[in-house]
């Protein structure tokens, strides 16, 4: 048995099928995510990475298959139980998806205010701490999302995703649209937070540097299912045209060299 199989899967997907009308996006998809790991999901554009993420968190409903999170079948839960589970994960959407009529700090307080009864002073302090934690300047708290740059909006979105100290965070292309320096800073931030807070991270990305820098395991989505999971070494030696092209193409080689230096 490999060490992975002895670990406890925090999310476990079996025989998943999703479709929009007649278009099947996933078929017979199996995937395990283990507690405390950073799992990178890669795949060509339109292979259904975002749809997979949305299906796990319940924004999209599968046609077949089961999704277990924390060992509970999400479809079999009462809505109260489901909400309790939803509080244990945080999601960063592709564009941050901040509420545009609230300031950054108010955005971070939304989940606390909706789910918990905390004193206002404590919520304000926690919001300020989360803002610092994701590397935003203190005055960002009073700004509206439209006053922030793309990178800052992503950081603010991450702060909101972390508001309830979740155990799992789902990140959809967190470094897309950031400059390389901003992207590596964001990678470092995710890794640091993951280690300090013991997070499990489900990371959809196209960024090869991110994959090298922070992912413990990588899952490749192609042909409607996960064709391979494993660490970078396994990816480099896996025999599939898309996987070869992706990890051995010019960008893949550059990222590999950068990692080795």
């Amino acid at each position: 048995m490999s060490p992975q199989q002895e670990r406890e899967p925090i999310i476990s997907i079996r025989g998943l099928k999703t479709a929009f009308g007649a278009t099947v996006i996933h078929d017979e998809l199996d995937l395990d995510i283990y507690r405390g790991e950073v799992l990178g999901i890669v795949g060509g554009s339109g292979t259904g990475k975002s749809v997979l993420l949305r299906t796990i968190i319940g924004l999209n409903h599968q046609k077949k298959g089961t999704i277990k999170v924390f060992d509970k079948d999400l479809d079999a839960l009462e809505s109260a139980e489901r909400r309790a589970i939803e509080r244990r994960w945080g999601v960063l959407f592709q564009n941050g998806a901040l509420f545009s009529s609230l300031t950054v700090a108010q955005n971070i307080e939304v989940p606390m205010r909706e789910h918990l009864a905390l004193p206002k002073a404590l919520m304000d302090e926690i919001a300020a701490m989360k803002i610092a934690m994701v590397g935003l300047p203190p005055d960002a708290g009073t700004k509206y999302p439209s006053e922030l740059s793309g990178g800052m909006r992503k950081r603010a979105g991450l702060a909101r995703a972390l508001a309830l100290d979740p155990e799992i965070v789902f990140l959809d292309e967190p470094t897309a649209g950031l400059d390389p320096i901003g992207a590596s800073a964001f990678d470092a931030l995710i890794k640091e937070l993951q280690q300090a807070l013991g997070l499990t991270v489900f990371l959809v990305t196209h960024d090869l540097d991110t994959l090298h820098a922070i992912c413990d395991r990588i899952a490749v989505l192609a042909e409607k299912h996960v064709i391979v999971t494993g660490d970078m070494g396994q990816m480099l030696s896996f025999d599939h045209p898309w996987v070869q092209e992706y990890f051995h193409g010019p960008r893949g080689r550059a990222a590999l060299q950068a990692k080795e230096q």
Binding site: A84, R87, R88, S100, S101, T103, A105, Q106, E109, M112, H115, L116, A117, L118, P119, A121, L122, D124, E125, I126, A127, A128, M129, K130, I131, A132, M133, P138, G141, T142, K143, Y144, P145, S146, L162, L164, D165, P166, E167, E192, Q195, A196, L197
Partner: protein, 379 residues
């Protein structure tokens, strides 16, 4: 694991070395409220050495670590020597991280003095009104220039969107316009009949209904319905395209948003509104006829004859001539406000409201100008 039901707990004690707080249980965000309050109120007495004993801490998250850190910080600021003791190895990294991220911060947007805010707001509103009037006039000019170019070169006209908008603003509005004007015809006839009967002049109800519907109410009502229905839709459509940077994308592709978005919408309105106005006229007259028949026993045949003899066609044309101008106002304001959207989804909402209010206002202003004009020329 963050689960509700189990709370952070605390025990205060005094030891020979000084006051001590034993931190017990699960210090996670869901169960912190009481412990937070207790620690805020805690004023350790006795020796200046204070200890926060973390030996019995089961679970810690950033919020719990923050409360501990803040307690230590505030007590230290009061001159006490506060230390964590018996820290478990699992918790050191988290405590350090939270300490490193202690930052002041506020939540609400910055606010200045209320008087200043009110004065500034009044000033801004006035300045905005002037600027806006000027910008709207500029927009009208731009639209006319685009229209001129399109007439000179009709191939530039976007046929498909024009037809699409004709359906959306014209055809789809027929039921609501017809229903409302029919009902207004009924109401007018009933009111007219009850009032005029007092003078034995109930036969004039026909003229009352016909002249007011044809000259004013048919077209004005239609314009107001369309301002609410389509003017707002224009603002919302163009506004969300603006938010999505679609308008910027068009410009960079050397496509003219005036030609692509504004002209088809405004032209569709200019074509559709007279037709809708015509339908409103017919339905208004029909409503009047029904009511005259019911309350006054004026048969449809008599009603028609009376219309023919006593209501000149000029009234109909007075109403109709206004329709394209109303349409221009509604389309202009709707598209203009859509292009003013910036920043957030909230801005789409505000400007949509503004577009409706403003276009109804403009329609009534234009109507008043026409009334004065017709009065002067005696039409």
């Amino acid at each position: 694991m963050t689960q509700t039901g189990e709370f952070a707990s605390l025990k205060f004690s005094d030891t020979p070395e000084g006051a001590r707080a034993e931190i017990q249980g699960r210090w996670v965000i869901a169960g912190l409220a009481e412990a937070d309050t207790a620690l805020r109120q805690w004023r350790p007495s006795g020796k200046p050495a204070v200890a926060l004993d973390l030996a019995a801490l089961e679970r810690l998250d950033t919020a719990g670590a923050w409360v501990l850190h803040r307690t230590r910080k505030t007590l230290r600021a009061e001159g006490l020597q506060v230390e964590y003791i018996n820290v478990q190895p699992d918790h050191t990294a988290l405590l350090a991280r939270v300490e490193a991220n202690d930052a002041p911060g506020s939540v609400e947007p910055r606010q200045s003095n209320i008087v200043v805010v009110v004065l500034a707001e009044i000033g801004e509103t006035m300045a905005d009104a002037v600027n806006e009037a000027r910008a709207l006039l500029g927009f009208l000019g731009l639209l006319m220039a685009t229209l001129g170019r399109t007439i000179a070169n009709p191939r530039r006209l976007r046929g498909t969107p024009l037809v699409y908008h004709l359906e959306a603003v014209g055809f789809n509005a027929v039921p609501i316009v017809a229903l409302i004007s029919f009902l207004i015809g009924v109401v007018l006839a009933y009111q007219g009949a009850t009032q005029l009967r007092q003078f034995g002049a109930e036969i004039f109800t026909v003229e009352l209904v016909a002249i007011s519907v044809l000259r004013e109410i048919g077209i004005l009502l239609t314009a107001i319905i369309i301002a609410g229905r389509s003017g707002s839709a224009f603002t919302a459509q163009i506004g969300s395209m603006k938010l999505n940077e679609e308008i910027d994308a068009m410009r960079t592709l050397a496509l003219d948003p005036m030609e692509m978005l504004v002209l088809p919408r405004v032209l569709a309105l200019i074509i559709a509104l007279p037709m809708l106005g015509f339908i409103a006229d017919i339905m208004g007259l029909l409503g009047g006829a029904v009511m005259c028949w019911v309350v006054l026993d004026i048969t449809p045949a008599l009603y028609l004859q009376r219309l023919n003899e006593w209501v000149p066609l000029a009234h109909f044309w007075v109403g109709m001539i206004k329709a394209p101008f109303f349409a221009l106002m509604i389309g202009l304001v709707g598209c203009f406000e859509g292009l003013q959207v910036k920043g957030s989804a909230e801005s789409v909402g505000q400007l949509t409201t503004k577009a409706v209010v403003e276009s109804i206002f403009m329609v009534i202003v234009v109507d008043a100008i026409f009334s004065i004009y017709f009065a002067v020329i005696g039409f």
